[in-house]
């Protein structure tokens, strides 16, 4: 298990190839489908940036707070997980997540959410550009992760206006 490891994203390296989306959907569903991936690459052509966005594993997860049946919980490593047996598919968590990192797999009637692949995330494993890394984060990197998150919060608020 990746004790204390987190997914660190460096958007400046991202080539926008979406290999992470394919790796994720395949590891979760055995098929290739960006809709079923827990990571999405947002591409901003004009600004020439691409940013892979996945669950931040928040300290205080909004998804967990709104889950009325207690299906969302944190494990001992701080990974936020969905208990499929308890989940009733009400989708409240989708609206609650400020980053849009929750989605619903309509075929299997389950929530799609990053679970860090149980400690070896496939997105990081297959990312050749080094954009997504899974590692013990230094305080600087954690700070950077927070900055990226803030930036995204702003962007999403902008979009939702």
């Amino acid at each position: 298990m990746g004790m204390g490891k987190v997914l660190i994203v460096s958007p400046e390296k991202c080539t926008g190839c979406r290999t992470c989306e394919m790796a994720c959907s395949f590891s979760k569903t055995n098929s290739f489908n960006p809709q079923k991936a827990a990571v999405t690459v947002f591409q901003y052509d004009e600004a020439a940036i691409s940013v892979p966005v996945m669950c931040m594993q928040c300290e205080e997860p909004a998804c967990m707070k709104v889950c009325t049946v207690g299906a969302i919980y944190k494990d001992e490593n701080g990974t936020v997980l969905v208990d499929k047996k308890k989940c009733i598919g009400c989708k409240l968590c989708i609206s609650a997540c400020p980053f849009g990192n929750m989605s619903f797999n309509a075929d299997e009637k389950t929530m799609v959410k990053c679970d860090l692949c149980g400690g070896s995330p496939k997105c990081a494993e297959l990312c050749t550009s080094g954009t997504i890394q899974f590692k013990e984060a230094t305080p600087t990197e954690l700070n950077k992760k927070r900055l990226v998150a803030d930036k995204f919060m702003e962007l999403f608020q902008e979009v939702n206006k």
């Binding site: 080539t15 979406r18 395949f26 098929s31 489908n33 960006p34 297959l126 050749t128 550009s129």
Partner: protein, 601 residues
């Protein structure tokens, strides 16, 4: 179904009928998809003598079984039609994200027939398709069209469209997707324009499945590890893009300079190199769908008269506006390339056509009055200006819009067109790379570098080094490269993977994806089948052995300097051997035995 989705859309533009039909699985097993299966479908339905810009010509967009999967660089789709520039079978493929999205939307491909009365676009959304008016988009650039269509359909939709060049029938207009990616050669965009089809927009939430998930993933991981470890795909291309070849080809004395007149060494090559591009104008590297290489270049000219932003240039585009026109100003080269993407035309043919006009001008065959200005080699301003004029067929650009062969022929000097089957040869002087000469002469779509890429063994030494100055063994190498390339194109992956991957790796991804137990040899045999089918199309369209040739300059004028000094292309000896190795008659026609051996009916 695995690999393939199993469904095609047939769109009749004349009467607006749209219907769904099943993919013919037998043909899919024999021809894979994209280029191969597209050609098979096309030949089943269209007379090879069809006039390319008539409603009777059809236009097929087709993905391959690996498109939209985690196979290496599997973002590609092919457009197949009869090509207006060459009159040969036309097949050009493109990366980006359009091809995978078409499969996610529920289809392997789309067959367009007839001609719409007014401009239209097709919107395919998750198994539903409709033709919509595109009158408001006619005349708009590729970028404007793409933005508007994304706005009026879906924020994550993918768009393939033509620009003004396709609308105006520039004979080498492209079909552009994701703004900067091109089904680039032979003028397929002009066919789309002749049908009044401005764009195809796709959006889907479906899946692509594979037959043996575990084995398929193992094959993909193996391929990716090899791509990463290879010096070209793991370091050279990601760092410098394809422009890295400028200095390499120049040092090999095979960078064609000033319409191939001045040999293969350009004194200002360094100024237009990938190294210079990275240092001066590179914003970032960009990758197509699922690509681990990421050779795309986002570039910006920050100021000056060529200010602008876009992608590229690729090596061959950079060469055509650079060394071939004798231009050393990299900003001008980038600008001309940006305009080609925005207006939708092929920079290889355009730059080569301008270079041809430059020679016609310097020889006094074309005068200043006709041109509207001077046109010496090295004139960067003229290159950018004529790029703009050609994109909309204005002034002398109207003549440039027909390509170098028709231009030079009009003035009685077709020998000054550096083309094969009327399509311009790119960026590799075959006098210094003999195998490329055979490749150009025998390519089923005319002058082209991506129907075998002999540069890989002859210059880069991959998978092993061949002496570029001799003809020995070139015919047998080329046959294998042509067949393997046909497989790669038809599977839906990028040709660049073959710097690092061979038949075993590619075959393994294909069989585990589609669940057919091909042997490696059978997979290569698919490529041979495709090559022969394309050849038959061209023969039926009226091509003969005489068309499997090169411009007289390459056969008669020796290279003046460099490693290949004193050499011409020794085509005759290679061609005879090549036909023999192909199992073709002396006149270059496949024998009955060969066709039955390949199960071509």
């Amino acid at each position: 179904m695995s690999g393939w989705i199993g469904k095609l859309l047939r769109v009749n533009l004349s009467n607006g009928n749209i219907k769904e039909e099943p993919l013919n699985l037998n043909d899919a097993k024999l021809y894979l998809g994209a280029r191969g299966l597209g050609t098979k479908i096309f030949m089943n339905e269209v007379d090879p003598k069809v006039e390319p810009l008539s409603p009777e010509n059809k236009l097929i967009f087709l993905t391959g079984p690996l498109t939209g999967t985690l196979a290496s660089s599997a973002g590609r789709y092919e457009v197949v039609t009869k090509a207006p520039l060459t009159g040969t079978i036309g097949a050009s493929n493109s990366g980006g994200h359009f091809g995978p999205e078409l499969k996610f939307a529920g289809y392997d491909g789309i067959i367009f027939e007839g001609k719409a009365e007014r401009p239209v676009y097709l919107y395919v959304n998750n198994g539903e398709a409709e033709l919509r008016s595109a009158e408001h988009l006619w005349g708009k650039t590729v970028f404007e069209t793409t933005d508007e269509l994304v706005n009026e359909t879906n924020a994550s939709a993918r768009v393939a469209c033509i620009g003004p060049a396709g609308e105006k029938g520039v004979l080498y207009a492209t079909i552009m997707n994701d703004k900067h990616r091109a089904a680039g050669r032979s003028g397929l965009g002009a066919v789309m324009g002749s049908k009044n089809l401005k764009a195809v927009v796709v959006k889907g939430t479906g899946s692509v499945d594979v037959a043996k998930p575990k084995e398929f993933m193992a094959a993909c991981l193996d391929a990716r590890a090899k791509l990463k470890a290879n010096p070209v795909t793991g370091a050279g291309l990601p760092t410098y893009g394809t422009q890295i070849l400028v200095n390499i080809l120049n040092q090999s004395g095979a960078l064609p300079t000033r319409n191939w007149r001045d040999g293969g060494i350009f004194e200002n090559a360094e100024d237009t190199s990938g190294e210079a591009l990275s240092e001066k104008y590179l914003v970032k590297a960009k990758g197509c769908f699922a690509c681990s290489i990421g050779c795309g270049r986002v570039t910006r000219i920050p100021d000056g008269k060529f200010k602008g932003m876009g992608e590229g240039p690729e090596y061959e585009a950079g060469w055509s506006f650079g060394a071939d026109c004798g231009v050393r100003d990299l900003a001008a080269v980038c600008k001309a390339n940006f305009i080609c993407n925005e207006y939708g035309l092929d920079p290889i043919t355009l730059g080569s056509t301008i270079a041809c006009a430059m020679e016609l001008y310097e020889k006094g065959i074309v005068n200043k009055e006709e041109l509207g200005r001077d046109l010496q080699f090295g004139d960067a301003d003229a290159v950018v200006e004529f790029t703009k004029l050609t994109a909309v067929r204005k002034g002398f650009g109207d003549k440039l819009a027909n390509g170098s062969y028709r231009l030079a022929e009009e003035y009685g000097h077709s020998e000054l067109s550096m083309s094969v089957k009327k399509q311009e040869m790119p960026a590799y002087d075959a006098r210094g790379v003999q195998g490329m000469g055979l490749e150009y002469a025998t390519s089923n779509r005319g002058g082209c570098h991506v129907r075998g890429y002999m540069t890989s063994p002859e210059i880069l030494g991959l998978p092993q080094k061949l002496d570029p100055l001799v003809t020995d063994e070139k015919a047998q190498w080329l046959k294998i490269f042509q067949d393997l390339t046909a497989v790669v194109d038809s599977a839906g992956i990028c040709l660049f993977t073959t710097f690092a991957l061979g038949l075993p790796e590619i075959a393994e991804m294909i069989r585990t994806a589609v669940g057919v137990n091909y042997t490696d040899e059978e997979v290569l045999r698919i490529g041979e089948r495709i090559w022969n089918l394309e050849k038959i199309f061209n023969l039926k369209a009226g091509f003969t052995k005489a068309d499997d040739s090169l411009p007289p300059r390459l056969l008669n004028e020796p290279l003046p300097e460099g490693p290949g000094k004193g050499l011409v292309v020794k085509l005759d000896e290679m061609l005879t051997e090549y036909y023999k190795i192909r199992g073709w008659k002396e006149d270059g026609e496949p024998t009955e035995e060969k066709l039955s051996e390949l199960a071509i009916v």
